[in-house]
């Protein structure tokens, strides 16, 4: 049974702080940051670039409908509080993960949407990777398409950012690989026939041809962890939010591409 050889975050946190490495500054030099879009064939790029052809837009259309739908509880629809998403949600997704003051922890966009639905709409929880939650998240994230990724420069997020970097750079799994081994040190080279991308989270939720459907960043990270023969964290584990926070910092200022298409 695979056993992930994970270094516990607090130890690594201390080591990183002692080493003097700036938190969140690692990864790839800003001028060299590239989206996975650049690695794809012209055909798949065209699929993403044409809203009439992009299969992710089917989910976005579902999300638009959900945005306007009144919940059974009688509380307002999303539109009822936030207005037209094109206005109210403009640029929002680019600034996630963010600090959740209510629960004193970082929260990703999907988590924030779920929290809002449960607390303010009295709506039942949507399961992870459910088509409704993905559709709503994709619709909201679309309103940031083209905006530079800019996770908040909030000091309360720093510990999670450092933890995310430790997760990214720490060796794990049966193969003793870290994310950084491939995505920092060997992006642009090939692993077999596949070109190694930088692993930028610019287009989530995205339509992955391998899934034949839309999926979240957490799903993709779980795929990676499994592929590295490490234990994936449970859905909604704080590790994913920490990783996403680090990835977003590492990606800035690449633009949001949701809904992206990827092989």
């Amino acid at each position: 049974m695979p056993h992930s050889v994970m270094v516990k975050p607090p130890l690594v946190l201390a080591a990183l702080l002692l080493s003097g490495l700036p938190a969140g500054a690692g990864g790839i030099a800003p001028a060299d940051r590239r989206s996975g879009f650049d690695h794809m064939s012209q055909e798949i790029r065209s699929m993403q670039g044409d809203d009439a052809a992009n299969p992710g837009m089917l989910a976005v259309a579902d999300g638009a409908e959900l945005w306007a739908a009144s919940p059974a509880s009688g509380k307002p629809s999303c539109a009822g509080c936030h207005g037209a998403a094109e206005v109210g949600m403009r640029g929002v997704a680019a600034r996630y993960p963010a600090w959740d003051a209510r629960d004193s922890r970082p929260i990703d966009l999907q988590g924030r949407i779920e929290q809002c639905r449960r607390d303010r709409q009295g709506a039942p929880a949507l399961p992870h990777e459910s088509s409704e939650l993905l559709a709503l998240t994709a619709f909201v994230a679309l309103q940031s398409r083209g905006a530079p990724i800019a996770p908040p420069d909030d000091a309360r997020l720093d510990p999670a950012r450092v933890e995310g970097r430790a997760l990214f750079e720490g060796r794990m799994g049966q193969l003793g690989l870290s994310c950084a081994n491939c995505h920092d040190d060997n992006w642009g080279r090939r692993l077999g026939a596949a070109l190694i991308p930088q692993g930028q989270p610019t287009g989530y939720p995205l339509y992955r041809l391998e899934w034949q459907g839309l999926g979240s960043l957490q799903r993709r990270l779980r795929n990676c962890l499994t592929g590295m023969r490490a234990d994936p964290f449970a859905y909604d584990a704080p590790e994913y939010v920490a990783l996403e926070l680090y990835l977003a910092t590492r990606a800035a200022p690449l633009p949001v591409e949701t809904p992206a298409v990827r092989p």
Partner: protein, 106 residues
């Protein structure tokens, strides 16, 4: 009702060749693929797509398991006069869905 996205211009001039793009949310389960328990998942595909303009057939496609999930079909039409298109998808398990769109030609 499956989500359908139809893209065609709202207006055209007579003689223009217009491209119509259609996209339907549908798993197009091939009937050849095993599920997690190892048993083959039953086939569930769209088998036919047909487009009519003002009642006349304009384009028809027979689809097979080799069509990708969320079927995407594009075709062309010479604008002659204003009117309505209907787009119908039919398939396994009684799948039968029609969408409409209008075009103004002048």
């Amino acid at each position: 009702m499956a989500r359908a996205l139809i893209n065609l211009p709202k207006t055209a001039k007579p003689g223009d060749v217009v491209t119509i793009k259609t996209l339907l949310s549908h798993p197009m389960e091939t009937g050849f693929r095993p599920g997690p328990d190892g048993r083959i998942l039953p086939r569930n595909i769209v088998t036919e797509f047909v487009c009519h303009f003002e009642g006349d057939e304009v384009f028809r496609a027979e689809l097979y398991p080799a069509s990708a999930a969320n079927p995407y079909l594009t075709f062309t039409w010479v604008a002659t006069r204003s009117g309505s298109f209907t787009f119908t998808w039919r398939g396994d398990n009684g799948f039968d869905q029609t969408e409409t769109a209008v075009i103004a030609v002048s």
